[in-house]
């Protein structure tokens, strides 16, 4: 393994300075559950790793009026062990509780999941259907971009070489909102999604019509994608099995999967159909339950 420098940054400025110094040959380290494996596997070489767990903004999680801010290095377990967060952000909690196993969840972060930019990322779909944004810091200050569009290709993001993700902002969900994430893996843990689907929807006051919906798909395109046509088909529809099935059909058309060692094109399209229907049903159930509460 190529020798690299390890810097435990204690501020955003310090982290940015190291990134500037090394350019593309430096990367940030949060839980390390992807990057360390990739380095040891020889996938790429680095000259510096910047540990951001000591950066206060990256390790904070705050639930406020405007929504939820999750520091880029906040490990998954802190998300699902927080009862208030778990109640308000069910889709995100679904993902945080199934990434890797318990040991992985005690290190891995959603920020890291975003920056790793895997097509199969479990954490990104739920952020998409929760309309989350990414807070990015660089030499000239901070900027905010939507999660939708943050990943540009497998392993690539909109981050410049001298930028890092500080946190993710998830707006406070409206009332009668529900979300869910499910993935298909052949095993029951420690696996990569053959397909992952996140869905969210908002029911109208009567609870009988869908006011708005979001659907995101993982492992069926170069990045996690938003299935906007499938989501649009649900507006004004009742939260019914029939509507969810139709949305699944449209979502399967929006997917552009490939054959690889983990699954085939046909299998992935089938799974998009099934998981879209199942996650929408669960999201609707959660939306009704939330409204009743």
């Amino acid at each position: 393994m190529h020798p690299f420098r390890y810097v435990a940054a204690s501020s955003i400025d310090e982290a940015v300075a190291v990134l500037r110094e090394h350019g593309a040959r430096a990367r940030c380290l949060a839980g390390g559950t992807d990057i360390l494996v990739q380095l040891r596997g020889g996938r790429y070489e680095l000259d510096a790793l910047v540990d951001v767990k000591g950066v206060p903004e990256a390790s904070a999680m705050r639930l406020g009026r405007a929504g939820l801010d999750i520091g880029a290095a906040v490990p998954c377990y802190r998300i699902y062990e927080d009862a208030k967060v778990a109640a308000a952000y069910p889709g995100i909690v679904d993902a945080a509780s199934l990434i890797g196993g318990i040991q992985i969840q005690s290190r891995a972060s959603l920020g890291g999941n975003l920056c790793n930019a895997a097509p199969s990322a479990d954490g990104i779909g739920p952020l998409l259907v929760h309309d989350a944004t990414v807070v990015i810091a660089g030499p000239t200050g901070t900027r905010t971009v939507p999660v939708d569009g943050f990943c540009t290709a497998p392993g690539s993001t909109v981050l410049d070489d001298d930028e890092l993700v500080v946190s993710v902002h998830v707006p406070r969900p409206p009332t009668r909102f529900g979300a869910a994430y499910e993935r298909f893996i052949p095993r029951n843990e420690m696996d990569i999604a053959i397909v992952g689907v996140a869905s969210s929807l908002v029911l109208d006051r009567s609870g009988k019509r869908i006011e708005s919906a979001r659907i995101a798909l993982a492992s069926v395109a170069p990045t996690p994608i938003v299935a906007s046509k499938a989501a649009a088909s649900l507006i004004g529809e009742p939260p019914s099995e029939e509507a969810f099935r139709a949305a699944g059909e449209i979502a399967a058309g929006e997917a552009s999967p490939i054959d690889d060692m983990r699954g085939t094109i046909d299998q992935r399209r089938d799974l998009v159909r099934v998981l879209t229907r199942r996650t929408l049903a669960l999201a609707a159930q959660r939306a009704s339950a939330g409204a009743a509460r």
Binding site: G101, F184, E189, M190, I192, I194, M261, Q267
Partner: protein
Amino acid sequence: MTSKTEPKRKFRVVGTRPIRHDGWDKVLGRAAYGADVKLPGLVHGAVLRSPHAHARIVKIDTAKAEKAPGVLAVMTAADMPVAASQVLDLGEEVTNATYASDRVMARAKAVYNGHPVAAVAAVDLNTALEALTLIDVVYEVLTPVVTIEQAMAPGAPLVHDDLVGDDIGERVEHTNVAEHIRYEVGDPEAGFAEASTIVELECRLSRAHQGYIEPQTATAFWSQDGKLTVWTSTQASFGQRDALAGVLMRPVSSIKVVPMEIGGGFGGKIGIYLEPLAAVLSRKCGRPVKLVMERRAVFDATGPAPGGIVRVKMGVDDKGLITAATADIRYGAGAYPGAQINPASVCVFASYRIANARVDGYDIVINLSKTSAYRAPGAPQATFATETVVDEICRRIGMDPAEFRLLNASKEGDRRVDGPAFPRIGNVEVVEAIKGSAHYRSKLGPASSPAKKRGRGMASGFWQGIGGKSTVTISVNNDGVVSLIEGSVDIGGTRASIAMQAAEVLGIAAEDVHPSVVDTDSIGHTDLTAGSRTTYATGAAAIKAAEQVVEEMKNRAALAWETDAGNVRFEDGVFSNAVAKGQRLTFKELSGKLGATGGQISTTGVVNLRGSGGGSFAAHLVDVEVDTETGKVEILRYTAAQDAGKAVHPAYVEGQMEGGAVQGIGWALNEEYVVGDDGVMQNASFLDYRMPTTLDVPTIETIIVEVPNERHPFGVRGIGETGIVPPMPAISNALRDALGVRLTELPMKPGRIMAALKAQAAS
């Protein structure tokens, strides 16, 4: 639970569940495995591997690597002697020294992806790894032979230009079929003519890796006086010594192999991989050299079980009796011959009495790593075809699968297709145990959701086990504790099971036998820990040594009591004088008097058990639930019944049965080598080579059946391997029951199940 089948002799230690002797060290992390070896002056090595599955090596330039700071030695095949052609019989693996040498370091051609082409020793691992990037290898890439069809096609590229095939005794040149064997009894064609129902299935199986957690390692020190010591994680310390002698062209006695604690083997740690490379690097730099394989290399370059194509045809008459059966077994050996087609042929019909049968086995070389033994090597793949055919027959003729097996079961005196007659076996008893189980009598119950379906399947399996040579030395200490020295590497709790057999004879507690596994210079020849032989054969050696101790102790008691040795009785751990009431000494008391009666006692028991180990049959029953929208399979309930002869340590017998079932479940559902046309494995990691996790398997319910093995003093049968044989067909049969479709290709992964359901819907 234990199913009692007949009255047996009374045991005091055998059949109990003491804490294993190596338990503390393993639980507390003190046990030293291969990678834990630390020696003065130790340096580290790394291996450069071919990225091509088939390529001529035009040139290797190591000059830059040799000059790199910190590099102590660089080697290629040019640093190894050209090994003379000779058969190396490592027990469950037989190979030729020339192939064994070529396998560990490519000479003219790289014949599998991951084939070593050079190795470096350096002051630390990172320096060694960096030095690998300085070695320049020029390859002429050749077309790889990846599948069995490709290998057997006319005009196929040849894995080895000089391979001479043996087609039932006929020499064949320019071929990838190393061997074609045939066994035949009776008249299969006439038998099929008598059949009222005939079923034939062709099954396809992926190669599957043992998946041991500890990767291969080797540390070697080649001393200036020509003595080579190798510390390694192996199942076969003596086999490794002999293989090293053959590959390095050195006298056997100049080599000492020190077996370290082993982190899983399952047959995969019999052959040599890193040992000769560490040895040559050590010779070149004069320092001890350690090599540890990366997981990627373990998948790419060590030996999994072969995949293959197995076609089985079976006919039954209107009473359900088998009239004839044939099997065509084609296994992909990998880059060198030796795909275990013989044990496959032995086992394929072993569960049934068949008067007319023929088995053809083909050992086929392809450009993938050479396969190795894996738990009942060769048997699971062949049995998959037989047991799915049997299940289809039961469905066609409307017979209960347990009844069919009882009706057609092989019994004592029946001949296997390869000739030998079975001794006393427990084939009927294991099927009866399943039939009598709570599981068998339970209702399957409704599925947990409308999208899911449930099914139940049964299958049988057999592994013959081997005997072979073992040596055990016992020394009696004056505190009544004995030390037991053995050469059998402990994989599955054999320190305990062997010590318990000695304790049984000596009338002492299992804890009062202290077992040690020692190196090849410190004990007489002992064959490998494999073939379900260790508890059986090394146990027999321990019994023999212990019986000699008892005889000598009787002499000493006679001396102490000034009586004839013939008057000394030994019962329940107590020596007594038959002619003088009240004269009695426990084993411990007499041990304290050894000094005064002629000194300490030590004995050696040597056995060489010929023929099979007596054989162990199993029958498994499984309930599955399948999500018909995703193809995901959940194992709801699993019961394994197996004949242990006599279970020495029932907990470890159960552990072996459970382990076999779990590995079989993995092979059945998800484990596979995904190999592209380029011969490169695409899923060479534990992330993508999908072995089951603890969340993927239910509690395996076990039923130990005890039909004594007439070849062992206590009736013990080796039980380590049979458990992996039935799971794959049992699950295929359960899926057939649930879904109405027959899965004949392994693994039966979700995508394949969905494709089968779609094909069913379309037809």
